[in-house]
Symmetry: C2
Amino acid sequence: MSGISRFRETNRYFCTMSFIQTDTYQVRSYETDASGRLSVPTLMNWMQESANRNALDYGIGMADLARQGFGWVLMRFRLQINQYPVYNDIVTVKTYPTFVEKFFIYRDFQVLAADGSVLAVASSVWLTFGMERRTMVPLPPFIRAVDPPAGIVPQEKLSLKLDSVPMAGCVTQEQPVRFYHLDQNQHTNNVCYVQWLLESVEADTLRQHRLTELDLFYRAESHWQDTLLVGSRRLEEGLNYQHRIEQADSGKELLIARSVWQ
Amino acid sequence: MSGISRFRETNRYFCTMSFIQTDTYQVRSYETDASGRLSVPTLMNWMQESANRNALDYGIGMADLARQGFGWVLMRFRLQINQYPVYNDIVTVKTYPTFVEKFFIYRDFQVLAADGSVLAVASSVWLTFGMERRTMVPLPPFIRAVDPPAGIVPQEKLSLKLDSVPMAGCVTQEQPVRFYHLDQNQHTNNVCYVQWLLESVEADTLRQHRLTELDLFYRAESHWQDTLLVGSRRLEEGLNYQHRIEQADSGKELLIARSVWQ
């Protein structure tokens, strides 16, 4: 726990309150996929919505950062899905920060069914960029001051290194970045990448199997009207894939990922 | 009002109850577009979610139809947007059937802000297809028996004819139908078409203007792995567009539409 900030001043910049965010979502018809299960992009949207709301309570929401010239970037996300809810199910998402370091803040998620059983868990790593130079900066003091809630049991810290995935050997498809793919920072929404890489696996995998693990490493941003190349490679053992998304013209790596299906 | 069914038997097939559906939705961060306003696809998803829930109360939900070998198809949708909600706003969607005819059921929508002001209205026309032959069939008796709520003021009936839009003269882009574009009937979700046709207008229109009217005529379905051609043509007067979506290989017309921006 040595990574946790011990800042204790209390003023409008240095918030020492601790919050566990708890939201409920009821599965809407359009949030399911063709098989009737909650879609993975919707699940990820819910988790990030709850993360945003938790950040607001800590005084480190998107608007709080924007006022000081910073923005949030998701760097790592690792999702494990045990069971999928279906239409009308009521689902609880819990999220809270777990570690705060010089450059990175870690955040865990739990997704629970109405009976309290664990549908999914996730962990994530976030960083801040400075809007002026649009590069990564150390977490500003008002974020460093965040105190993770007492009594939580953090998931293991995600590795900040992941082997690159070469595009050679991948099945690829082109993907233009269109208007509704953008977030309010004018970057491609990180959940759009997930939708694209899941859609790039074999039809039989999408129809007959279910995603159980997804590990994402976001490497760079993309923008409106960029053309991306989305690649997936099935590994020899089991239903495991590697994925890569890059800029089609430059080959610049945007995302590397791995997925496991059952 | 001669088109309203006067069926009055009450048994499990002939439901004569009347319901106005009222749901509230709070705008989530990922439901806004790059300009921070509620996205039009999300607004349409909300309206159809409420329509589904209203249909459930009437005993004519998707599952009720599927059990008897039928499915719902949206044929016409006309949307007028006065004002866009933003993040965190609480929005009420009201919907109810207005007319029931031999082949078509009409449904209206009102979208209200927390202060009761009207953000948007819409009207729509739905038909049923028989799952066996996958063609349009007359509304089965348990749907004909639906009684629109008393005291409503229906919007004008939508025309069931709309001039075709030729692809010649349109700016076009290709769109593959991917896994997450499918609904549970294994057709392309009707809101995906809307996203694609809005994204096909000029960048300046998307950035500087707001959609105020959208009129949709769904002509045929498409399926997973189809390749579609999405076309838009700006008319000479004002910010008005015509749109067409067709099968790329056959030219078969799937959707014609018109949009007005301000």
